[in-house]
Structure formats: C-alpha cells, structure tokens
Amino acid sequence: MNNTTKHKKASKTKIHVDQAPYNTLNLGPTHPATHGVFQNILKMDGEIIVDAEQTIGYIHRAFEKIAERRPYYQITPLTDRLNYCSSPLNNIGWHIAVEKLLGVETNKRIDYMRIIVMELARISDHLICNSVTGVDSGALTGFVYVFQEREKIYEIYEEMCGARMTTNLGRVGGFDRDFSPTAIKKLRELLTHLPKVLEEFETLLLRNRIFMDRTIGVGPMSAERALNYGFTGPLLRAAGVDYDVRVHEPYSSYNDFDFIVPVGQHGDTYDRFCVRQTEMWESIKLIKNALENMPEGKFNTEVPAFYLPPKEEVYSKMEPLINHFKLIMGEIDVPQKEVYSAVEGANGELGFYVVADGGRTPYRLHFRRPCFVYYQAYPEMIKGSNISDAILTMSSINIIAGELDA
C-alpha cells in the first residue's frame, strides 16, 4: 500500500500570477496553417480566444496603381494574380467589364465557352478549399487525391491558352481560338472521371464522424450579420441567404441554364464545406450542359478597335501586325464612362469598377475583392473558440492572399 500522506498537505510555495488577464498569441504571417501571408494577433484566456486583430498587407502589390498605367489588355495578367486558384474566372470577369464599357455583345457560343471555363475555375478553387479544410483537420489523403484532378484541369487550361495557372485567357469579345478537339476530348474525360473522384472524396470527409464533430458549430455567422459585413459567395449562402450574382444579374447567358444555388442554415464550417461540395456538382452539370448544347458560331466578336487579329495574319501581313502592336500598346481609345461589373467568383462577388477617361489606360480601376470584405468578420467568427477551431475556420473561409491584399 502506498504511503501518500506526504502529498496530502497543500504546497506552501507562493505562485505569482501574471497581472495581465489575457495572453497574446501571434498567428502568422508565416505559419503552416495560414494559407497565404496574413497575421492574426489573438488575445487568449487560456485556450479560449477572447479577441483577435488582423494585420494584412504582407503581399500588397499595388494592383490598382499599376492598372492606372497599363492599357486594358495589359491588365488581364494582373487580374490573374488576384485569386490565383481560379485565374480564368478573374480574366473573363475583367473582359466582361471591358465589354460593358465598350458596349459589346457576345454571341451564344462565346458565352457557353466562357461558362465552361469559369465553372472549371470554380471547381479548381473549391477543390483546393475543401481539401485544405480536410488537411487542417488532419486528413491529408483527400488533398493528394484531389490535386491529381487539378492537374487534369491544368492540362485543359494549357490546351486552351498555353499556361497552367496564371492563364491570361481570352480576349475582349471572346477568345483567341476555338476549343481544339484535344481540349474537348480532355473535357469529356474530366467529366467522366471527376464525379468518381468527388464521390470518393466525399466518402472520406462528408459523413465522417470526426470531421463532422470538428466542423459543426465551428465559426458560425448568422445571416443578418453576414449581410451587414458584406459577405458574398459560399459564406453568405452557408449562412442562409441565396445571393448568387449568376442568378441575380445573369451575365454570359447563365440564365439559359438551370442550376441549384445551395444554401446552408447555420453558416458554420460544415455548412460552408457542404455548400462548396454541392457547387462543384452543379458546376459539373453546367459544364456538361454547355458542352452538349454549344451552338455554332464564331469564337470572337468583331470589336474592330479592340479585337486582336488572328495570329496567322499577324505573322504574315503588315496591317494586322501594326494593328496588333497598337492594340497591345493601347493606342485605341475608349468612351468616357464608368462601369461597375460583377461576376460570381469562387469566393463571392468579384467586382470591377472602371472609370475610363478616354485615354489608353483606365483613370481608376478598383477591384471589389470578396476576401477583403469578409475577412473583417473573422474575429467575430472565432470569439470563444479554441485555436484549432480558429485554424479550421480560417481554412474554410478560403482566404487567398493575392485577393486579400491586391
């Protein structure tokens, strides 16, 4: 029998308690769990987070100032680098904004081709976000499976425009080339293969008890607060408001298609995961419908003052060469107008506010970036939770640093 009487007396040493009630913990800017460079300074009461303050701007590249110097075509590579997980979506959004400025209408074929590319970009972004949510809760397998599918999407981009990630895809008024037979073959293969991979990914995480325990009730946001904070995209839809720019103000013939806008209830991490998962299924359906019902027509619009001539003529004749040079260097003028045009980005409403003064470059270009607007609400979402829940909330709201700082 142990003699434990020695330990029954209370310790006589005095313990000095720190006078300040809360600890400060610095999360970032370099941290394995922050997906991008941004810093959170957390005020903690033991393990519970009491308050948080963010510092961003660690990758501020002054896009808006650069855009005042660049002609309209040279801004497309800048928009690539906003949300670099879904670059073609930003490119097409910018081209739609310039078309609104010039008053150009695109035909149905171009619209359907654009829908295919934008939905591919949306799938690409949601695949990263959902798999990284899995990684942050400890499930690394889904990430590796899903990245293989993203390689296939990169191959399709390469076939369409030559680049894997920062695509600079399309032209004002359409595309520079039609979808080649290889691209269509790869698209069809993707459409048969991706649903199987998505189902396998869902069996790993969607009804996984550990994942559900970790994500249900974590990082909630109510619908009224979300609207006040300016949330858009999957976060607002997970909170219960069905605002989707593709349905509200249809652009690029989205109103020809019938797709569900998924809506959650509590706005917590599990709802965001499910909303993104459902949006991926809807995107697959959209791509399939657009590919099957693609009408005949030209892949570009005659915007004589703006449309780049075809490459065969540029390399062989004189006038198209001069025209090409003048367009890229921005010698062509635009009307004096201002325009706000929004597309449904992977994270929410991506808006372009262009003020044109008739010169070769925009007078002012402002990007309405969804990440920047909803990251303000992060302290409210994590108040009262543990660090591990805060990390999971951060990965589920899909902060892309390029879009945050621009």
Partner: protein
C-alpha cells in the same frame, strides 16, 4: 508505351569518387557528407502567392518532389535546411524573411522560386521588394511566372549539386562571414567571434 511485362530501365547513380574493394568503400569525408545531405534536404516552403500553388502541385503525386528526399516539409526554420521563397515578397514581409533565415541553422541554402522572388517580377512598384537577394543571400534562382513544376524541380536539383560539392569549411570562411555581414546578419560562433 512499354508493356507491363518489360522491365523498366533504370539509371544507376554513380557513387562519388573513391577507392572501393569488396567490403569497403573509401572516399573523402566531404563527399560522403555531401551525398548524404543532398538526398535528404528538408525544405521550408515559404509560399506567399501564386508560385506557392505551383509548389503544392510539385509536392503532389504527379510531379512528386518527395522522391528527391524532400518529403518532410518543415515549417519551423529551426529544423529546415532549404528556404524556398515562393511568391512576391512585399516590403512589409521583408523583415519576416530575414528573421526566418536567421533562425535556420547552418548549413542552410536559399532557393528563390519565381520572378517575384528573384527580382520583383512584374510588380515594379513602391510596395514590392525587388528580389529577396536584397535581404538574404540566395543560392539558386528559378525564373518563371509561375515556373512549371519541372523548373522548380530543376532548381531543386541545382541546389542538390551545390549541397553535394560544398566544402565542409565553407560556413566558417571569412568570405561567407563577410557575405552575411553585408546583409546585416551577424553569425555568432567561436569562428566568427570578434569579426
């Protein structure tokens, strides 16, 4: 495409120069250490923007960086050998890069991936650092915007060459100490005391 019954042809890697006989292989210490080090580099992926996503693709199953020995990514600089800076470094972030570099233990190498890390890239603006070689000494630059995974792997292989052929005394040499001093990084060990 080879049929599944044909044996794939491998290239056997040559051992370093040395004298071998049944039962032993003799070579110089730095060659042996270089061989061991180059095949087990632990990188620190300092991924800030678009090049970081290409790095994630490089670590994926298609372009597997793990087969070069870099399977174990270390996010703590204390345990890392190679600092891979991928993405734009803004002036706000520059002191952080230097702080992370200072925490790494010798021997350490730096790989600048992407045009933005090498020279500022397309962002010649007031807020972007025009190349990380303004704050840390860089060993290999990988250009590209973003570089393809094959290019990142080639940059990594060049780092492996540097690692394999490095002299064991390099980190204590006066040239190296002067190089770090030019960046404002003070080394503090018995060889540099007083320099």
């Amino acid at each position: 495409m080879n049929s599944i019954n044909e044996k794939p042809s491998y290239q056997v890697v040559d051992p370093p120069e040395g004298y071998s006989s049944p039962g032993f292989f003799a070579t110089t210490l730095d060659k042996a250490v270089g061989l061991a080090r180059k095949n087990s580099i632990w990188p620190l992926p300092f991924a800030t923007s678009c090049c970081g996503i290409e790095f994630m693709a490089t670590m994926g199953a298609h372009y597997d960086l793990g087969r070069f020995g870099a399977e174990r990514l270390s996010f703590s600089p204390r345990q890392a050998d190679l600092l891979m800076v991928m993405g734009t470094i803004a002036k706000k972030m520059a002191p952080v890069v230097q702080q992370v570099y200072e925490q790494m233990a010798e021997p350490r190498w730096v790989l600048a991936v992407g045009a933005c890390a090498s020279s500022g890239g397309i962002f010649d603006t007031y807020s972007v650092l025009q190349g990380i070689d303004k704050v840390v000494p860089v060993d290999v630059y990988v250009p590209g915007c973003p570089p393809r995974p094959e290019q990142i792997i080639e940059g990594f292989m060049k780092i492996q060459e540097l690692v394999a052929h490095e002299s064991l005394r390099r980190r204590y040499s006066p040239e190296y100490i002067a190089l770090l001093k030019s960046y404002g990084i003070q080394l503090d060990n018995k060889y540099t005391h007083g320099l």
